[in-house]
Symmetry: C2
Subunit: 231 residues, 2 copies
DNA sequence: TCTTAATAAATTGTCGACAATTTTGTTGTT
DNA sequence: AACAACAAAATTGTCGACAATTTATTAAGA
């Protein structure tokens, strides 16, 4: 089970496999954001029938990576500054609550597990500031563990099954791979402490600030890029 | 545009229509919660092909009303006490944040609109404590307006497009139609006031308490029912 | 030359049939 | 009677073809 999706099940049907391929292609920008999706073209490309492709498209729509309009067709979602802002505000709400619930529902075993992970991260700086998209698992791993520890299936499905696909897409396409390295590590540490202390209120507050800081960090990078482009 | 779904577009394709029919049937319990869905059977029942039915099923899956497993089939979601609890906790997080964003992004026009709605509700007690599923629009209307006023498309899609289908299902199937009548009206009033004052922090806190109170109210009703059944 | 209308091409929606998988029912053995 | 292996039935997944709708192209008129 890959680190970047703890809730996923092994792909059994061909639609599953095509879904995963397209998912990666969209996240990495190989299929361009905002571009129209031609069913006949992609069906031929993946060597499958249109029915199967449409099945895959439906799943991509479920995780908000494509949008479909009746009789018009499908488009890959666009990556806009506003969309990123909205996404992080939503994350703040959901992961904040997940963190509060984690403080309530986490098992002792999961606490040990998270502390062990933190220990590993402290010893391998490469994990603290992942350089590429595939190496950012340190941060994602932390967030996934917190979310799963909430033991709230509704929150888990929403965040891991839907939001995080978009999060990865934005991170990848905007080149925001290293989420504030050392600072993030400290913040992770404090959050785990609050959870271990069963202090739900503090845990939620810290997680919300952690995500808000991450959002502001990314926003500033974007505005720099925009500034450069105008020069 | 029906009151109970402000983000919905008119159904154009037959899959759309079947989706809406099934949606209502599931929410109202005409298709039993937790029951298996036979594709051949339902396709015959609705006089459509299996492809079209599957398209409808995909949309039902998108709003979490059915769950599908590969090679096994689809089932209507179950209505469990835990599921209800999880749903309301998620609502608390999302609608709380939506309320905070509304305090930031709402237009003067929308403020007037909400105050006018409140005025109408105060004069028609029937709207304050809706008796049946179809008459609970007073409460739903309020929540929808707040969510839309957030002007955050991500939040709007998640809450209106997904969560609220489940909310209506639980309300309908557990017979929790009147959401604490008069108390709710006062709470609505205070929330709108906070939004109009542009006090995002207070607005979020009030909305969270409002939903938490609603959750606790429903929980107590459920435990009473369980108690009765054991007698 | 620019709009508008009509027509042709392409794309999406729907259908029925076949293949693959799961479930059910049966048979045979312990 | 209980269990296992096998066979039959039913269900889901996939395919290609046709219908309905949208988009592109052409023709006509102002």
């Amino acid at each position: 089970m890959p680190l970047n999706n703890p809730t996923r099940t092994a792909p059994v049907t061909t639609a599953d496999k095509v879904f995963e391929q397209m998912q990666h292609a969209i996240v990495e920008g190989k299929i361009l954001a905002g571009s129209k999706i031609s069913e006949p073209e992609l069906a031929k490309q993946y060597q499958i029938s249109r029915s199967t492709l449409r099945e895959a498209l439906n799943r991509l729509e479920k995780c908000h990576l494509v949008e479909r309009k009746a009789n018009i067709g499908s488009r890959v979602v666009e990556c806009t500054t506003q969309g990123l802002l909205e996404l992080y505000i939503t994350r703040e709400a959901l992961e904040g609550m997940a963190c509060r619930q984690a403080a309530i529902n986490i098992t002792d075993e999961e606490i040990s597990d998270m502390q062990a992970m933190l220990q590993r991260h402290s010893q391998s700086p490469a994990l603290q500031d992942g350089v590429s998209y595939y190496q950012e698992q340190g941060d994602l791993d932390f967030h996934y563990k917190v979310i799963l520890a909430s033991h709230n299936q509704q929150l888990i499905n929403l965040i891991c099954g839907q939001l995080y696909h978009l999060v990865r897409m934005y991170r990848c396409q905007f080149g925001m791979n290293s989420p504030r390295a050392s600072r993030a590590f400290d913040e992770h540490s404090h959050i785990i402490q609050a959870i271990a202390d069963r202090d739900g209120e503090l845990a939620e507050m810290l997680m919300r600030r952690h995500i808000a800081a991450s959002r502001i960090n990314i926003e500033s990078k974007i505005s720099k890029i925009k500034f450069q482009n105008k020069q």
